[in-house]
């Protein structure tokens, strides 16, 4: 009788410690449930993870975690600068590591020049980037290009610091 009361008391203290600040701990041993429940949860999780094979796993890729920086161009030029090539080399590794990710390459220009000429210039910039990535082994079926010309500046303002930010190729990712 004594030992039972002791055990009950010990359990209550334990539960009290676990369940942390339950104001009126009921004297009955109902709160015993949490402990087995905890072990029950751990066991079924593993098989579930193994069951969800690759396709579902890939759906969980959060594209916002893949960061592909813009690459920049000189005024009225579509040639890839050294810094652009270095950035694109990293992009190629990212795309190789994520074979189910497709990329839209957007060509942009600064505000100087006519809209139609800048649309054409943006096309050339996007295409240069696309062909460079292709030369690094990225399949052409994974890439699309578009030009926005001067219509979507990244930086507002009419000076070189804004313009140099706006002469760029931007990358938009999507899952196949």
């Amino acid at each position: 009788m004594k030992s039972i009361t002791f055990k009950l008391l010990a359990l209550t203290v334990l539960i009290f410690a676990i369940s942390c600040k339950k104001k009126t701990p009921p004297p009955e041993p109902a709160p015993v449930k949490p402990e087995p429940a905890a072990t029950q949860i751990e066991e079924p999780i593993k098989p579930q993870v193994e069951e969800t094979t690759e396709p579902e796993d890939l759906d969980k890729i959060d594209l916002s975690h893949i960061k592909m920086d813009d690459v920049y161009f000189d005024f009225d030029q579509a040639t890839l600068r050294d810094d652009a090539r270095a950035t694109l080399n990293r992009h190629a590794e990212i795309l190789k590591a994520n074979p189910k990710v497709n990329v839209l390459i957007e060509g942009h220009c600064d505000e100087r020049g006519t809209e139609d000429y800048n649309l054409a210039l943006g096309e050339r910039r996007a295409e240069r980037v696309r062909s460079y990535l292709q030369s690094l082994g990225i399949g052409s079926e994974r890439m699309r290009t578009i030009s926005y010309g001067e219509s979507q500046p990244k930086a507002m303002g009419s000076d070189e610091s804004a313009w140099s930010q706006n002469r760029r190729a931007h990358f938009v990712l999507s899952l196949r």
């Binding site: 009225d76 497709n102 839209l104 957007e106 100087r112 020049g113 006519t114 809209e115 139609d116 000429y117 649309l119 054409a120 210039l121 096309e123 050339r124 996007a126 295409e127 240069r128 696309r130 062909s131 699309r144 290009t145 578009i146 030009s147 926005y148 219509s151 979507q152 500046p153 507002m156 009419s158 938009v172 999507s174």
Partner: protein, 437 residues
């Protein structure tokens, strides 16, 4: 013009002006002094008073914009007795008037009747007399018709009833992380009576020609902006009342920079195919696509010479944009501009062998006119922001262009000798003007 019924028409005398319009693009042209006393208001009523003041104002503005007439100021005109009691040519000659317009306005059978008489003071002759009947609320239009009749008689030119189609941007996002809405608008050449031609979406680069009574309009639409399926292509309205139909362009062959041929049968435009932009021509029904340029560089912004046998376009094949000409069959390509490293937006004058184009200086663009026979260039703008996208008036005497000199893109017009610069629009951001008869 159906609502304006010309019911009397007679012309007396001879035209002394108008012989051999000088093609000299540089320097001032001699102007004829013209007196335009206020028209006689034969009866008073609210609507008629409004129409009267509108006609007085608009007629003077139109004739002033013509560039070959010098409107005598009201204080000079006030020195002479009213012409409505009788025209005394000696008195008009005494204030140096070479021409005199005398008009009147009255109501008849519920309609406004405007009479206009044009006198040549030096020969003391009535050289043009016409009467116009219409609704009083069409006073502005009536004044434009009178102005066009006078200009046609004096110089065989007219522009007062012409329209300007342009794109106007509506900011949807101050930071422009998404593409702004851009709609097409048509207005009178002087900025009045603006009406929308498209609604919502991103429409730009309009080009239009007038064939008979119909205006054919082609323009670029940016489709699915800010998405993986972003693209752009060319749409056509066979008449302004028709629904637009897609003429060319898909995800992989995007198209822009439309230019309809002067006869309205063909369209030149550029196609971006795997990053290479070239000029193409096809029939306006979408058949017979012909590639005009074959160069890995950018070739775009085509425009037609008045006869439809030659195209101008911009190419950066020498490393920076320059203007080239090519026969409409793709042969006989030749370079037109050499003087500055960055030239674009060439448009051929509808009557003369002049082209207008833009040239870059530092970070701004200015409007130039080149006489193709002599190669001489005239700079029309300088040190006033960026000035782009010139378009010729139907009479070939004026240019409309867009400038950001006030901090936003607004439309301006100017005589081809650089005089009479006038701001036409004042709000929003307005670009891509095209001037149609």
């Amino acid at each position: 013009m159906r609502f304006l019924l010309v019911f009397a028409l007679f012309a007396v005398g001879t035209v002394l002006l108008g012989q051999g319009v000088t093609l000299d693009t540089i320097g001032n042209r001699a102007k004829e002094k013209i007196a335009i006393p206020d028209f006689e208001l034969k009866e008073r009523s609210g609507v008629l008073n409004d129409a009267w003041s509108t006609i007085n104002e608009v007629l003077k503005a139109d004739l002033n914009y013509s560039g070959f007439l010098d409107i005598l100021p009201p204080e000079r005109v006030a020195l002479v007795r009213s012409p409505h009691v009788g025209v005394n040519f000696e008195e008009w000659a005494s204030i140096d008037a070479k021409l005199l317009v005398v008009g009147s306005i009255r109501m008849q059978d519920g309609q406004m009747v405007v009479e206009a008489h044009l006198y040549e003071v030096t020969s003391k002759q009535l050289i043009l007399a016409k009467a116009y009947r219409g609704r009083p609320d069409l006073a502005r239009k009536t004044a434009h018709v009178i102005a066009d009749d006078i200009m046609t008689y004096l110089r065989n030119v007219q522009f007062a009833n012409s329209k300007i189609i342009f794109s106007t941007e509506k900011a949807t996002d101050a930071k422009r992380s998404r593409m702004n809405i851009s709609e097409l608008v048509m207005m009178d050449y002087d900025g009045f009576n603006a009406i929308p031609l498209t609604e919502g979406g991103v429409s730009m680069s309009p080009h239009a020609v007038r064939v008979g009574k119909e205006t054919k309009l082609a323009y670029t639409v940016f489709e699915n902006p800010n998405s993986f399926k972003a693209s752009y292509g060319i749409y056509l309205k066979p008449t302004l009342l028709d629904r637009p139909r897609k003429l060319y362009g898909d995800l992989n062959k995007r198209a822009t920079a439309p230019a309809i041929s002067p006869d309205g049968n063909k369209i030149a435009f550029s196609i971006a195919d795997q990053g290479n932009v070239d000029v193409y021509v096809m029939k306006l029904d979408g058949t017979d696509l012909v590639r005009i340029t074959r160069h890995p560089a950018v070739d775009t912004n085509p425009s037609w010479a008045p006869g439809g046998k030659t195209l101008l376009f911009t190419s950066d094949r020498v490393g920076s944009p320059q203007i080239y000409a090519v026969d409409a069959d793709g042969l006989n390509e030749r370079r037109i501009t050499y003087e500055n490293p960055y030239n674009d937006s060439a448009v051929w004058n509808p009557h003369y062998d002049f082209i207008a184009y833009v040239s870059r200086f530092d970070n701004n663009f200015d409007i130039f006119v080149m006489d193709l026979r002599t190669g001489k260039n005239l700079r029309l703008t300088a040190n006033q922001g960026s000035n782009e996208e010139p378009t010729w008036s139907p009479d070939g005497e004026h240019l409309c262009f867009t400038s950001n000199r006030t901090g936003s893109w607004q439309l301006y017009m100017v005589l081809r000798n650089g005089e009479n610069l006038t701001q036409i629009t004042r709000s929003g951001n307005n670009r891509n003007p095209v001037w149609v008869p």
